[in-house]
Amino acid sequence: MVRRKAAALVLVLLALPLPRLPAQEQVPQEPVAGEETRRLLLCFDLAADANFSQEEELLLYESLLVQVGSASRKVAVLETPDRKPAASDPDRSTLARSLGADSWLRVSLAGDWTSVAVAAGSYDLLTGQTVFQFEMRKRLLRGAVDLERGFWDEVLEATAGYYSQAAAAKSLPGQVVFRAPPGTRITVPGGDTLRTDADGQARLDVQLPLTLSIRAQRPGYFPLENKYYLSQELTTLELEQARGARFAFDVYLNNMIFPGFEFSWFPLPSTLFVRTGFTTYLAGLLFSGRGEDTSLFVSMTLNLLDLGIGAYLNDADRNLRAYAGAGVFLRLITSLAYFGLEPIAPWGLQAILGLEYSRRLKQRFYLEFDPLLYFTSHPDLMKASLSSNRDYIGYIFFEKFAAYFLNLRLGFRWQL
């Protein structure tokens, strides 16, 4: 019997004009420009002894969601992820903060479709107060029609009444104090940029209460980006940033053929680096053939040792980071006949231009251009050292040196 009623209710609801059942994407409402808007997290749950079918539960939830969302332009309603209920009031507060809400409304239902026990309560995170809390019992004599006509009136009135007033309440001037190590730069949306003084403090005049998004940056530390809820009682923020990487280890393929390894030390964590490593040509895989008889495996008794310095060009928490630097390299022969510097072009300079990409801070793919400038007293012998004329591509030969522009590394970097 209940199921038949529920099915009928679904049909009735589907027949209602669209404005009465907005699509879920329309909730939460976006804040209205120029107005203070409260962000209310809706927490909906059923008591353990509640007796509702899934369809009935869905109807109850969505009718509440739509009507609370429409109750006031000053209230934007957020949903809990997957409608998973929080277990306690502190959990609801934590969840609300994590979702960017500044208050929550809990509605808990018990009973069955004919007699619904409603328990409602709301908490304002900005004032740290329980706004209201009450219980009532309702009947759904005419099914879904009753849901549209007054079923949630008490909840709506209590919610809209408080939060409209709270949002419209005149804010008071106040001052936020940021505590962070001296020199920390704090960026506030709207253009304000602060810097903590020698005492590790920066102050910002604001109207309270306030939801404030900030970005704190300090050389050598990962930037801190967060949203804070400030009331007249809570005006001091402790900003704790994680220190950037001190070391890094790279594994890469040079020109998609030869392996290499690099170890970096950051004098200024995640920003300035000094690095050393080597590319070995003793073993490589030639993925694109150079002729019918070309082996996939290629080996040369040469190794390139490098030492370089460089700096990252943007913030350490960006998915895409760019860096640049320069260094020197030595070419070393490790053959059975000889171990030592390669005599034709023994050393040179190396530019470093790289891009890192990852959504993780410390494990990152990278692509690096390392144009090489070889110093040589024997440019003809160096030219003759190339396997064929197609290898001349990317080289410019001069009297005392030769430049190579197509040196590429593709690798993975672990930062520690």
Partner: protein, 367 residues
């Protein structure tokens, strides 16, 4: 840049750069680099080139080297040799050569299974410029001669009849020659089952091989079949100090075996030289032995004890020659280095040849 655009852009950049750089090898040629180390310690005595050519695509895979004229390695020309497993081509080049003209070619069966089955040696001669070519076949001795660039011919094959109607498996020229002739030794056997013997001859002007008439040394204790042979005789004024040297590949042991003997008349003192790893490739007037392996030259004393080693790379040991300098006559060793600068569709390829010399007594300086 929007997040949704960043990764595809990164991937596209990666693919583009990979295409540009993939299969690009560094400017390194072990032969040239190792040669550079050693040649810097020797005296550059002759330069030839650039000699222009249009090489086939597979030309870099073949072996090539230069053998300076034995008459005059400093001011003369020499033979440029290009070998593959199936054959050999020879040109004559001089310092004024700008292109390759006239060649002489012959087939070889010199693949891995039959390696080192020929010997090519410059021969001193008062007339023209000579190479002696021995293919280790029965009665197969050629003399390649050139009167200048573009004129390369050969006489042969010569049966060497009257000296030994035999299979020749090695030869060495003693560098102390006068009046344009060469003291040359042959290791040979009469087929089908004769013992191995070594014969002393004089190769005269014009390439005639004349048996000196000495009694052949009987080396009957050697295996009937020799493979990848090196044979040489160290000649001393004192016959008691003369030594013969032999290396050959032993399939069953997968290594070279080397021997020496001192007697001119008996094989009883055939002495194994187990200290020599690899093949003996040259015997010097100083009594030192050279072995070229793994891009290096290892120097042993006459008893097969290792003395020192130096990198060789693409340097080719050509020969030892008596330098009759009026002030400071001495034996000298000659090496050559040949390398190509590859051109393109529009630019031809260019060969460069350099000839280096070092007194035999100073060889240790290369260590």
């Amino acid at each position: 840049m929007r997040r949704s655009v960043r990764f595809p852009a990164f991937a596209a950049l990666l693919a583009l750069l990979s295409l540009l750089t993939a299969c690009s090898l560094p400017p390194y040629n072990e032969d040239l680099s190792l040669a550079q180390i050693t040649k810097s310690k020797m005296q550059l005595v002759n330069v030839i080139g650039p000699v222009h050519a249009w090489l086939d695509d597979d030309a870099p895979e073949t072996q090539y080297y230069f053998l300076p004229d034995r008459n005059d390695p400093v001011n003369g020309g020499g033979f440029f040799v290009n070998t593959a497993s199936y054959g050999m081509q020879v040109w004559y080049l001089r310092d004024d050569s700008s292109t390759f003209e006239g060649r002489w070619a012959i087939n070889l069966d010199n693949d891995e299974e039959t390696a080192n089955n020929y010997l090519l040696q410059p021969i001193e001669s008062a007339a023209d410029h000579y190479l002696g070519l021995l293919r280790y076949l029965q009665n197969d001795y050629f003399q390649v001669w050139a009167s200048g660039p573009g004129v390369v011919n050969a006489s042969g094959p010569t049966a060497l009849s009257g000296i030994f109607t035999a299979l020749v498996m090695g030869s060495s020229i003693f560098p102390d020659s006068t009046a344009g002739s060469n003291l040359q030794y042959f290791l040979c056997k009469s087929l089908p089952s004769g013992p191995w013997v070594e014969v002393e001859c004089t190769v005269t002007e014009g390439g005639a091989v004349i048996n000196s008439g000495g009694v052949p040394v009987d080396l009957a204790v050697l295996p009937a079949s020799l493979k990848s042979v090196f044979y040489s005789r160290y000649h001393d004024i004192d016959p008691a100090k003369d030594r013969g040297y032999l290396s050959y590949w032993l399939d069953s042991a997968r290594e070279y075996k080397s021997y020496s003997w001192t007697s001119l008349t008996a094989p009883a003192d055939l002495k194994a030289l187990p200290g020599i790893k690899g093949r003996i490739d040259a015997v010097l007037s100083s009594g030192e032995l050279l072995s070229f392996q793994d891009s290096a030259c290892t120097v042993y004393n006459g008893d097969g004890s290792k003395l020192y080693r130096f990198p060789l790379g693409g340097l080719r040991f050509c020969y030892e020659r008596w330098d009759p300098d009026l002030i400071d006559p001495k034996f000298k060793l000659y090496f050559s280095l040949s390398y190509w600068l590859y051109g393109s569709e529009e630019v031809d390829d260019r060969l460069f040849v350099e000839v280096y010399a070092i007194p035999t007594a100073n060889l240790k300086d290369l260590d």
